[in-house]
């Protein structure tokens, strides 16, 4: 792949890095990443992956932009209120970097569309805000053999791990979703807007590290932070032989529709 003169300038700070260089930027430019959710986490992930020149960015979200999103979902602007989030995100990505092919799916990630959606991508980013879908993403990626980044934020806290085929999965660490209403979603409990950026940019960095084969991914490790004290910690997680999806005797061998998220039940 020969970069144009403007691309050499655009990606010069990647090309300068010994661990990335021309070859790494080519891998980024040929990479395909699916971002599930164009909200608090998806926004920074999409902005940075677009700026980095990821070849194809898929973005799936069935919601429209609400004024309450603007405090943290920095890819959406005030005039976008009422617009599908995927359309708003696609417009920004194309302005940041016309080299990126954006595939916008104005729907939710479900047991029915999961395998079809992930099959066209090298790496998946979980940018959703509720537990049932996080487990669905985990199961789809484990069963489909896809690497992915899990991310979650609530109040002042965030956590993330990266899964590659054969490494510990989200269910190895967290067996199953908490019962509906046992745990508030970030839209119920509140969230400091900036921590969406803190966590989402970690996920974007993991995606770029994966595409370029650089460094050590957050596999078999869970990174969490508490922004009030600004303490970060990383704990080792092990592939669990009793894991219901990736263990020795898996009981989850197909996908099941995620239960209603807590805040969706409340809205009724």
């Amino acid at each position: 792949m020969d970069f144009r003169a403007d691309q050499i300038e655009r990606y010069s700070r990647h090309i300068l890095l010994q661990d990335i260089g021309v070859e790494g930027q080519e891998k980024i430019s040929n990479g395909k990443v699916l971002v599930i959710g164009a909200g608090g986490l998806g926004a920074p992930v999409l902005l940075y992956l677009a700026a980095a020149g990821v070849g194809r960015l898929g973005v799936i979200d069935g919601d429209v932009v609400d004024v309450s999103n603007l405090q943290r979902q920095v890819i959406h602007f005030t005039p976008d209120v009422g617009k599908p989030k995927v359309l708003s995100a696609k417009e920004k990505i194309e302005q940041i970097n016309p080299d990126v092919e954006v595939v916008a799916y104005h729907e939710f990630f479900t047991a029915d569309n999961a395998f079809d959606l992930i099959s066209g991508y090298d790496f998946i980013v979980d940018g959703t805000d509720n537990f049932p879908v996080k487990f669905l993403i985990n199961d789809a990626c484990v069963l489909g053999g896809k690497p992915f980044s899990h991310g979650g934020i609530l109040r002042f806290e965030g956590q993330t791990l990266t899964h590659l085929p054969g490494t510990a999965c989200y269910r190895c660490a967290f067996h199953s979703p908490p019962p509906p209403n046992a745990v508030p979603t970030c839209s119920q409990a509140g969230v400091l807007g900036a921590i969406a950026g803190m966590l989402g940019t970690i996920q974007a960095a993991e995606a770029l590290k994966f595409l370029t084969g650089t460094g050590d991914l957050l596999t078999n490790r869970l990174l969490s932070f508490q922004a009030k004290s600004m303490h970060f910690r990383t704990v080792t997680i092990r592939k669990n032989p009793h894991c219901p999806v990736c263990g020795e005797h898996p009981v989850i061998t197909g996908l099941h529709e995620a239960e209603q998220a807590a805040c969706e039940l409340k809205k009724r």
């Binding site: 970069f3 050499i8 300038e9 010069s12 700070r13 090309i15 300068l16 010994q18 260089g21 021309v22 070859e23």
Partner: protein, 74 residues
């Protein structure tokens, strides 16, 4: 083992080394690249950074007024 030429006398940091890396990426291991660059910052930084990133600087020689030729092997 082929030898290639690159003129970065009109470039400024960091595009001097970016352009050098772009050319080096096209070479096969063992090929050499002769880079024409200006004295001062480019002469101080391009050979040093090339070494740091694992290329071999075989020589630096004057190549005109305030211009130098740096020979880098991949």
């Amino acid at each position: 083992m082929a030898t290639y030429q690159l003129d970065i006398t009109r470039e400024h940091c960091p595009m001097t080394f970016v352009k050098t890396k772009i050319e080096l990426a096209k070479l096969k291991a063992g090929d050499t690249l002769e880079v024409l660059l200006s004295e001062g910052e480019p002469l101080e930084n391009v050979p040093r950074t090339s070494q740091e990133q694992g290329y071999h600087v075989l020589g630096v020689e004057p190549a005109g007024e305030k211009i130098y030729k740096v020979i880098i092997q991949k």
